[in-house]
């Protein structure tokens, strides 16, 4: 709204402004010939402007500009509560209680009615905000160049040993349901892709050797399925994301150099001698940390008490990765080692890391508890270990109930950790309500106090 002049003070108090309908007694201030000045005290801006419009010589003509018209309407309405009175009455208003009591409700009613349009607009805007806020946030988090969520794919192994060949009991179904629900919610929250990997569809190879080596093939297929994704996070079924509020970006990737270690000597349960010392190798292969740059990291693996752990690891799309996935399974290696390699891909990866220097320079390790905390039941030969076992006080990101299918209670552990995660991540209202009711915080049987 551009005024042709600044509002000017009036002799009798108040001020003259083209937007206000205060009876104007300011003929002297008008910049233009005042045709309507015949009865100045009765003139409202409305009539004045319509007149001036008709003559179309006024410097101020709000008509034809929607916004201005609209604004003028609002401002034009404001003094109406006083419009029936003489100018002189202004001083006396509100001094008579009976008048005041009558006038105020009526006035409010009138105000509301008059302002119904702006109210409706504000209401619609608020409603719209609540309707689109989540999808908007979701889109933001997904979009590659904003939140970048679509660059991450979570691969969850399902249907372990179940499906067609073996009977799956109610507990197995319940475990799978909880685990899947957990990852679905997490993927949805951060805009990641979630790929369920059906481990029951074992590929039939030309020979029988390769059975249950699907991890490698599955990762390759998934990379093909999501051609724009960069990082692929493999998760075993018996894992639970305890802290869904951590995004992968904030938890690892935004500051990857500080979240990983390149030199296996930092934690080396397998006693792999590192770095390689062969004189024929190039300096990067002989360096303990490769080239030391963040963008040379293509594989993020945690180590447990016994070496590499592929229950929860991240792999990045790259030429290096293509080669690794290609060479990972080899019939000559398999023929010689399949009796020895109890953990299949995991052992083969350790073998490659140990014996093929090109593998090491693109490897990085994650401290186990940053992505793969164990429950007390796993790796417990030497008792609790702060590098290995879950601690709710530190709000560890993920629990991997590794080995629960051998003599432990997978469903019991899954249930306990789900409850604990829910309890740890209660919202403020729930916390308050629990405090009112005096409900104690969830105490897990599995988690040491």
């Amino acid at each position: 709204m551009s005024l042709s002049r600044s509002p000017s003070p009036q002799r009798g108090g108040g001020w003259s402004s083209p937007g206000l309908t205060t009876p104007v007694d300011g003929t002297s201030r008008r910049p233009s010939p005042v045709r309507y000045a015949a009865s100045p005290s009765n003139v409202s801006w409305k009539s004045a402007s319509s007149k001036s419009d008709a003559k179309s010589f006024s410097t101020y003509s709000p008509r034809g500009q929607k916004f201005q018209t609209h604004m003028r309407k609002i401002s034009a309405n404001i003094p109406f509560w006083n419009s029936s009175k003489d100018y002189a009455d202004k001083e006396g208003r509100g001094r008579r209680p009976d008048d005041w009591q009558k006038r105020v409700p009526a006035h409010i009613g009138r105000m509301v009615w008059k302002l119904r349009a702006p109210f409706a607009i504000i209401l619609a805007a608020v409603a719209l905000f609540f309707i689109i806020a989540y999808p908007l946030l979701h889109t933001w988090r997904r979009t590659a160049f904003l939140g970048g969520g679509s660059k991450y794919v979570i691969m969850l192994a399902t249907n372990l040993g179940g499906g067609v060949m073996e009977w799956k009991g109610p507990r197995e179904w319940a475990i799978e349901r909880d685990s899947v629900k957990n990852k679905k919610a997490y993927a949805k929250r951060w805009g990641y892709e979630l790929e369920m990997v059906d481990m029951s569809t074992k590929k039939r190879y030309a020979h029988e050797w390769r059975e249950s080596w699907e991890k490698v093939d599955t990762i390759r297929n998934t990379m093909r399925k999501y051609p724009n994704a960069e990082w692929f996070w493999w998760l075993d079924l018996h894992t639970f994301i305890m802290e869904p509020t951590y995004s992968l970006q904030s938890h690892i990737f935004n500051d990857i150099q500080k979240k990983v270690y390149r030199d296996i000597n930092v934690y080396n349960p397998l006693n792999i001698s590192h770095p390689p010392t062969d004189e024929f190798l190039d300096p990067i292969s002989r360096s303990a940390i490769g080239d030391g740059k963040a963008d040379s990291i293509n594989l993020l693996v945690p180590q447990d008490c016994g070496g590499f752990n592929l229950g929860s690891f991240l792999i990045r799309r790259s030429a290096w990765t293509d080669r690794l996935l290609d060479i990972w399974w080899d019939p000559v290696g398999y023929e010689q080692k399949h009796m020895e390699w109890e953990h299949k891909e995991q052992d083969a990866l350790e073998w490659m890391y140990t014996n093929q220097p090109w593998v090491r320079s693109h490897f990085a390790f994650l401290p186990q508890r940053s992505i793969n905390s164990f429950p007390p039941g796993a790796c417990n030969d030497k008792g609790p270990n702060t590098k290995i076992h879950y601690d709710s006080a530190d709000r560890d990101f993920l629990v991997n109930m590794a080995g629960c299918e051998w003599g432990r209670d997978c469903w019991g552990e899954m249930f306990e950790y789900r409850k604990l995660s829910e309890s740890l991540n209660r919202n403020a209202l729930k916390r308050f309500w629990d405090w009112v009711k005096g409900t104690p915080p969830h105490k897990s049987k599995l988690v040491k106090s």
Partner: protein, 323 residues
């Protein structure tokens, strides 16, 4: 100039005092300048020191290296210089490569097979770490040409680039859609491979891939390929022909290797001497003008062969061809 800003010296009893004042006035400036000087010197020292430890620097020299450290192509021949092995032929075999390399601005590298401890498998595996070594010593080079000691360069006028590696040339030479291991391997060479995407150029004889003469391009793929080839599991597997069969194995089982391999006709870079004729492919027998002659198993005395006797006349011919 700082001295110009000072009042002229006067002969007075206070000269010493003035000088002390001058010193006091100068001190902040000189301290700053001095500090800057020290920092600058340290910075330059660190730069010099730092750059000398980066891989881009001139590689250190090891026995067997020849030619410019910045050559684009390196010829690698692993010699077993014991008297009963390559001893008698070592000198002229080396000279054959050195003369050729000089002509084209290539470098040469003649490591001894004993340099590489091969815990498992025969010493013939040494060519694999030797190539890795060559890549470490010549990090700026693009192509590494592995030549068996029992081969001679017969046509030194041919440069590796124009004769084999130029994109158009390589695409026209490539033998596509043939079994890796003749006659009936199910894995066949790729068709439609672009010449500039090739990292590995090799020939095939009647029995399979010939590891005696091949070219490999420096880079991440080469490191991957050589390390994978050299995996102890292949060395302990008792492949009948050690690294040669291991090579055939990884090429056939791993697509990321096959996808970088270009097979060229045998006479392009691996013509067989007539005593090897039974192993040669069609057109694989040496005829004058061919780039390389390969004497194959000339070291097998049991078969009545003798490398020195067979190779020396050819070496003389190659020298003549060069004149």
């Amino acid at each position: 100039m700082p001295s110009g800003a000072l009042p002229p010296k006067k002969a007075s009893p206070y000269v010493a005092n003035v000088n002390r004042n001058k010193a006091r006035q100068m001190s902040p400036r000189s301290v700053v300048l001095g500090a800057l000087g020290v920092i600058g010197t340290l910075w330059m020292l660190f730069r010099l020191f730092g750059s000398s430890s980066t891989p881009k620097s001139a590689p250190k020299s090891v026995p067997g290296m020849g030619g410019s450290a910045y050559a684009k192509t390196v010829i690698v021949t692993v010699l077993d210089e014991k008297a009963d092995a390559d001893g008698p032929i070592a000198d002229f075999v080396k000279q054959n490569r050195i003369d050729y390399a000089k002509k084209h601005g290539y470098a040469t590298f003649f490591p001894s097979a004993n340099n590489y401890t091969i815990k498992h498998g025969s010493s013939s595996w040494a060519k694999v770490p030797a190539l890795r070594h060559a890549m470490t010593l010549f990090p700026e080079a693009t192509y590494f040409f592995n030549l068996d000691p029992h081969t001679l360069i017969m046509n030194p006028t041919l440069s590796i680039e124009t004769h084999i590696l130029a994109k158009q040339r390589l695409e026209s030479l490539m033998v596509t859609d043939v079994p890796i291991v003749p006659p009936d391997s199910v894995i066949k060479t790729f068709a439609g491979l672009k010449g500039d995407r090739v990292d590995f150029v090799i020939t095939q004889d009647r029995e399979g891939l010939s590891e005696k003469s091949f070219i490999i391009r420096n880079g991440d793929w080469a490191h991957f390929f050589l390390d994978a080839w050299f995996d102890p599991l292949y060395r302990t597997y008792n492949f009948q022909r050690a690294e040669r069969h291991a090579l055939e194995h990884i090429v056939q089982w791993h697509g990321t290797i096959l996808a970088k391999l270009a097979l060229v006709p045998q006479n392009i870079m691996n013509s067989y001497h007539e005593k090897q004729a039974t192993a040669a492919n069609d057109n694989g027998i040496y005829k004058p003008g061919d780039f390389i002659v390969n004497f194959g198993d000339c070291n097998q005395k049991a078969k009545g062969r003798n490398c020195e006797n067979e190779m020396r006349p050819y070496y003389a011919r190659s020298v003549q061809a060069d004149l």
